[in-house]
Symmetry: C2
DNA sequence: GATCGAGATTGGAGCGCTCTATTGAGTAGA
DNA sequence: TCTACTCAATAGAGCGCTCCAATCTCGATC
């Protein structure tokens, strides 16, 4: 910087002004500085700048599991929004261990980020609160009633309702839900299913299962083993796509056609669902949008535009593909 | 830091030594400093440290497409190795545009990282060379003959050979390859297929296709439409898992059973392949290992242990599942 | 031509830390 | 008791930048 200033025949301070697009720099000097910088290959030092200006262009991101496509998509959204706002992402993984997450968070904070995004952390609530006292924090895919913490979540209740309403509008009446058990997202989806069924005076039927294909198979086999003809549901709302895929396998194995005999809806819109052969009707979470919104929510707080916590609940959308149709016998 | 020093009754320099685990600090002082730091909630400032020590604990990561699970897995590996070595990841995405990637790289470099990892960038070679002049660079999933640049790649040739040798050892003779066309990884896989077939004096048969399920379906339909009975391959080596999945669909549609009539091998070991219903035999790239190795390779250069470029080629492994068996009619 | 004021420019302190050289306190040997 | 060392601790400069207050420049005004 010193050298650039010397070469352009100006002071260091002026170089700083030029690189920060200050309006109070004459065109002549600006050109001279830019030229000198180009010749010398000068590039400002982000860390020195952060230190001197006491501001940070860093956003910390703590992700519990990157290998999950869900988070990868969210981070893509984070990155886009951060880049646009002039921020960089510092990324750390906690490998699903509270202790490692706490350590990762500590290291993140040592960079004095402008804010921190926590993606579905398993971290103790107290640790989150402690972080929130030092820096703005936004939580994705995990609730919180902490005062200094904003949250961004998929509205699983309305997503499930979307799926069930779709089935009902097709004419289905006997619709069962393959439950996700203890999975984080399962409770909301179950609730949405129950709400939708109740709203139409239909009996809810929740079959215990899990968010895997084998569990889906097993649950359907168990179902078919216990019910007879007219009591078999004409539609299934699965806890997620993997579960739906297992369920479809078991149905076909039992000689039932999908969707002619039984319609199936999944949740998550994984790459699996898009496969031509599978062509699964499913609920899509706006993952990148969640990332984008997380950054925007965070920056509002960073810029001091808001102090009260905000709870963002994003509307998922239904992707209708080939595993749903009206029940046989209807119209 | 000033405050901590005062509270512990020592100098600032001593606090610095304590936080850097210097051996030349008496136990008494160390304890005093640590206690004072805990009381005051002091945490060292990573950026100030970097600035003063002229060293960096940052590794820049430029990823072309995070949404691709492949990269997410690699990054997981990067993160693990980086954390272990005491480095943090600064992440940027280029969204497959050379211009945006160049900009992202520039921003990455403004943090004066100790090194940079480029994941399958579409960046111009000259831009990579320019970066390599300023900082150690390692390239993942893209070759380079630049002197200052190390590379880490999956050995697609031996991966393909692994798949084909497996089929041959099962007794297959008529093995066709569903080609990946212009996809980056396709050439190596095609080459490996050809090598393995030639090594056993078997005629190679490359069917043009692409790395998608629909392309796999189409290619198999085309194949079945042109060949008669005895000329139908008993095994297919698909360019990747999606392609294999499409191929399987088309085979079953034509009344051929997998694997009894036709064995199928994929490539990539996606989550799809592990589904119980699919249970695809496929080739697994050591993705996390690639990330880990990328960091280690980078750090060798960072520490100045090596100056000559290194070309890491990782051996993929075969995951045998349910889509391969001996051809009917054999033994 | 002197004065004023607005805009352009600059000096210098300081962000939180490290690092070199130096001082201080013991300790052992003569 | 004195010198020679060693190990522990410190002072102070400086990393690359920003930002405040101070200064300079120059056209407009009287």
């Amino acid at each position: 910087m010193e050298d650039v200033a010397a070469r352009a025949g100006v002071s260091r301070a002026l170089v700083s002004l030029v690189f920060n697009d200050s309006p109070k720099v004459s065109e002549r000097r600006r050109a001279a500085v830019l030229a000198a910088a180009a010749e010398l290959g000068y590039q400002p030092h982000a860390m020195a700048k952060a230190l001197a200006s006491r501001t940070s262009t860093v956003l910390g991101v703590l992700v519990s599991d990157l290998r999950n496509t869900f988070f990868a998509d969210v981070i893509e959204g984070l990155d886009g929004a951060a880049t646009q706002a002039g921020f960089e992402l510092v990324l750390n993984t906690g490998s699903r261990s509270p202790a490692r997450e706490a350590d990762a968070l500590r290291r993140l904070l040592s960079f004095r980020p402008a804010g921190v995004v926590l993606l579905s952390p398993v971290l103790a609530a107290s640790a989150i609160a402690a972080a929130a006292r030092r820096v703005p924090v936004v939580l994705v895919s995990r609730g919180s009633r902490q005062p200094g913490v904003d949250t961004v979540n998929d509205d699983g209740v309305s997503g499930a309702r979307l799926a069930v309403e779709h089935l009902i509008s097709l004419g289905h009446r006997r619709i069962a839900h393959l439950d996700g058990g203890t999975a984080t997202a399962a409770a909301a989806r179950r609730k949405g299913y129950r709400q939708a069924m109740a709203a139409h005076d239909l009996p809810a039927r929740v079959l215990p299962s899990e968010h895997t294909d084998t569990a889906g198979e097993k649950a359907v086999r168990a179902l078919l083993g216990t019910v007879e003809g007219d009591d078999v549901p004409t539609a299934l709302f699965a806890g997620n796509d993997f579960n739906a895929f297992g369920a479809i396998s078991a149905l076909e194995e039992a000689g039932l056609r999908v969707p002619e005999d039984v319609s199936v809806v999944g949740y998550d819109n994984t790459s699996l669902a898009a496969l031509r052969r599978v062509s699964l009707t499913t609920v899509d979470q706006p993952r990148m949008e969640m990332g984008r919104l997380a950054v925007e929510t965070l920056l509002e707080r960073v810029r001091g535009e808001r102090a009260e916590p905000v709870r963002q609940l994003l509307r998922p959308t239904l992707v209708v593909r080939g595993t749903t149709c009206p029940p046989s016998g209807s119209d």
